[in-house]
Amino acid sequence: MSMKLRELIRKVRACKTVAEERAVIAKESAMIRTAIREEQVHFRHRNVAKLLFMHMLGYPTHFGQLECMKLCASPHFPEKRIGYLGMMLLLSEEADVLMLATNALKNDLNNENKFIAGLALCAIGNLATADMSRDLAPEVDKHLKSQNPYLRKKACLAMARCLSKCPDMVEDFVDRVVTLLKDKSHGVLITIVQLMTTVLMVDYKFAEEEGEDPFQTDCRKAFLRLVPTLAKMLRNLLTNTGFSPDHDVGGVADPFLQVQLLTLLRLLGCNNLEASEQMNDVLAQVATNTETAKNAGNAILYECVQTIMGTESEDGLRVLAVNILGRFLLNRDNNIRYVALNTLSRCIQEQNQMGRGDDALVSGMVNESANNAMSALQRHRQTVVDCLRDPDISIRQRALELIYHLVNESNVEQLTAELLNYLVLCPREHKADICNRVLKVVDRYSPNDRWRVDTLITTLTIAGREASNVFQSATAVYISRADRDTHAFAAHKLVKAIRDDDGSQTGLLLIGIWCIGEYGDLLLQPCTYVPQATDTDDLALASQSTPVTLEALAPIDVVQTIERVTEHHGCLEHIKNRALTTYAKLSNRFADSGDAVALGMINAVLTKHSTSRSLELQLRSCEYLALINAAKGVKSAPVPKEDDIFGVTSSVSNGDSVSPAVMKAAQDAIARMPVVDQKVLEKRLAAENMEDGGVTTTRPQRAAAPANGGDLLDLNDMFGSSSATPAQNGTSFAPVGEAAKSDMDLLSEVFSAQTSTAAAPSLGYDPFSAPAVAAPSPAFANPMDLFGAPPTTASATSTSLAPTSNTAIDLFGAPPVQTSAPVDLFGSISVASTPAPATPTKPRVMGFSHNGLSAEFEYSKPDPTNNQRSELAACFKNTTGSPVRGLNLQVAVPKYVQMQMDPPSSTTVPVSGGNAKEVTQKIVVTNSMLGTKNLMLKIKVSFTVNGQKMEHMATVSGFPVGEY
């Protein structure tokens, strides 16, 4: 009734579908289970064999585990054999049943039959747990001394397993190992060498865990004495004295034993000069005498190279090793090329680390040998480069890694060209990584600025989509740092690249558009340069090379180029943003060209965007239009009345013209608009380089930059993105000292302010024409601190403000339309005499008090789980005697604070006292550097009282230190 194993296999093979097979197995499993339950002893052997087959097909067989144990205990050899086989396959180390096996194993180990003892040793070697190892180690040890080589070799490996499970037993077995090395049998020798390797590794790890010096353990010392013996064994294999035809593989004497010996020698020679010297000769012999026609020989050579590199070998030997690898690189077998590339890059990395880590004296020595090996390696450069064209990606990746390490001053141009070639071919997911590598290489080894810029632009042309923001900003920095000729070259090259592009290489477009705006005037002249020879060998050619001239462009062409980019259907908004900035810049750059058509076109494009559905674009284009018009002397925003915010302009601005001061300021502003704050960028770049130290990472805030809607280069850096550098923060809060600084910051703030426009009341809101009264929007919050002047000097009538600031305010829009009434100049006096406010439930801090309007900030922590977040409420108090209208509070915070502002409960503040309702405005701030930096607000309040427009600025910083 029970099926034979053979039948089951046949049945399963006959199954046409998986379902059918499953049914057969399910039926058979049921049969076996019944047999187990009914204790059908004769079928035990057959059932376990069937279970093994099912197990191999991936079906559950756990119910048969106990049957295996029973078979193991059987006195018959065939049953024992299948029992052990089942035990080794069906049971895993975690199985509880395994505990039961310990005793049976012990009995079998002591069996006279060498095959039974062998089976038990085999089982120990394959699945002994730590507990079993401890119990059975003495029995295994007995077999190490056995007369029979069959048992000796099995015992060696079983012991290796036991020792790796229980590292503390290592020391007891060291002596035994020494005697076994004298064995004649290859089988025992290879196992004992493997046992020694395992012991060394286990010992190393154990000593490290125990806090001892892993190179000074007793066990290692004992083994080190055997180095000459091991070297002799290896030499015997080479010289055929130990020749045995059984172990010969394709004319190589026992390659497995040779490889194992070399591995062991590597472990022993590592960090040990004496042992390394003892093995030097034999290593040289292996390296020179091994046959390379067959894979077996190459395996030995490969191991030998690793040993040479891993020990303190002589220089000559190292060069020999590199040359062997060089020969490997030329091999047609991919496997051999792969191991060569792999080993080479590992060696270089190790050497680099060593050179860095050691002190001067040692590193001098190491570097010398490293240099020898390095120069040997440089000879194989071309071979490595060829590997980049291999169809197998793993070879390409290895080669890339290696090339990256091979670059130096002399070969940078050639190797970078290869990297760029590869960049074109490689899969997209690797492009960003390669871009970063190109950047690092270019950064370190560029022969000149033009080449550097040229390479970076070419990279962007190939992989502008994938290049990280770091790459893009680095390109911008390098371009702007270079001399004027390079500027012209970069601008010309980028115009050409943008024209050729299909609008998908975002990075290229961003940098290109930026560069065109920055150096647009240079585009109007031809650019001539002498191309350099790419190789030093071509010196003759280089001297003959004729200068290449890039033709001058017409302004209209330049503008059209940019427009074509923005017209592209897939054009991203931040590219459009940058394009707008570029138009504004170009209007200045081309001003002297006298090309009215181009300038008209710029104006038209900007005007077109001023009705854009994107708030950001609209805002930007309106601002730029205003700026451009102001520069031309045309006042753009409709001004209903002459009462300008700052009395200065009101006296001069009549009709449609603006003051010359404003004009000049606007012109200045446009001219200097895109200041790339190089120092900030460079500092950041340096910080990044330090930070990632070889591995490429993209800083999160970098990635977030475009999302802020800002021009990464132009704007974000102004404020200093990193809160870690107090110096940068300092600049934005420092009182405005010089006009130049002021307008730069001013513009940056103007644009970055838009990040908070989300809170603006309506989408169609136009900052230029709407009266400020209607806009209690935080959109204007940021510009404030730019005026930066200390509150005391920033009075409404102050004439000491720089003219540029006036322009800015002008830009900000027309003054509110308000009724006239005499100014209550003395309003502020009455502040002092007002009765104390009703007892606040929350703590308050004084905000400001100006001309009768005062405000206090109520502060609290609404969210106990988020300490950084606090809620502020500005409570306004009016002591002027007449209602205050058109209240507009603007708040600026340092970069480490995030702020969200609600509109005020009312823009009209009634006279306080009585039952008049208090006007409040809620502000939620999150201090990301809580504890190290304190919350600080810069506020600007504007209001109208009795028809008189008032402005006041103040700093609020009285919040409890460390808590807000």
């Binding site: 086989l85 290796a160 497995f256 395996a299 051999i336 169809p391 793993s394």
Partner: protein, 154 residues
């Protein structure tokens, strides 16, 4: 050392699988909820997928999890060994070849069916060849003698 030895056909049927290191203790990607048996089956399927997808021109090495797979194809059968990253790849290629030669001389011109129907013999050859993840004997004659001797006892 060797972590596991796999013998699969082109369709992904496992013909031999021998594990020297339990999968869960060492594989980083293995989900903890899986039992070792299920994990083994999962890895075997994944290895099959990786190995069969590779072009002939490619190397015979695949970096997988935190170890390396070294495979060799003989007709419709894939022999795969998983070893530590620092191990000598070329030497293991030779190991696979020696094992195939062993099978070939034992079954005299081995084919897949021999392995299917005599899998227990294949296992015992493997046990004489490798032990505890290391190579135990490299002489073909020695191994075959032992296996035949054992069969005689049965």
């Amino acid at each position: 050392m060797i972590r596991f030895f796999l013998l699969q056909n082109r369709q992904g049927k496992t013909r031999l699988s021998k594990w020297y290191v339990e999968p869960n203790s060492n594989s980083a990607s293995g989900s903890a909820s899986n039992s070792p048996e299920l994990e083994k089956v999962r890895i075997e399927a994944e290895v099959h997928r990786l190995v069969t997808a590779r072009d002939k021109k490619y190397t015979n090495f695949i970096e997988y999890n935190n170890y390396k797979l070294i495979y060799r194809r003989y007709a419709g059968l894939f022999f795969t060994i998983a070893v530590d990253v620092a191990d000598n790849e070329l030497c293991y290629l030779e190991t696979i070849h020696l094992f195939v030669e062993l099978l070939d001389s034992y079954f005299s011109n081995v084919c897949e069916l021999d392995i299917v129907f005599h899998f227990n013999k294949v296992y015992s050859i493997l046990d004489e060849f490798m032990l505890a993840g290391e190579i135990e004997e490299t002489s073909k004659r020695e191994i075959l003698d032992r296996v035949k001797l054992m069969e005689k006892i049965e």
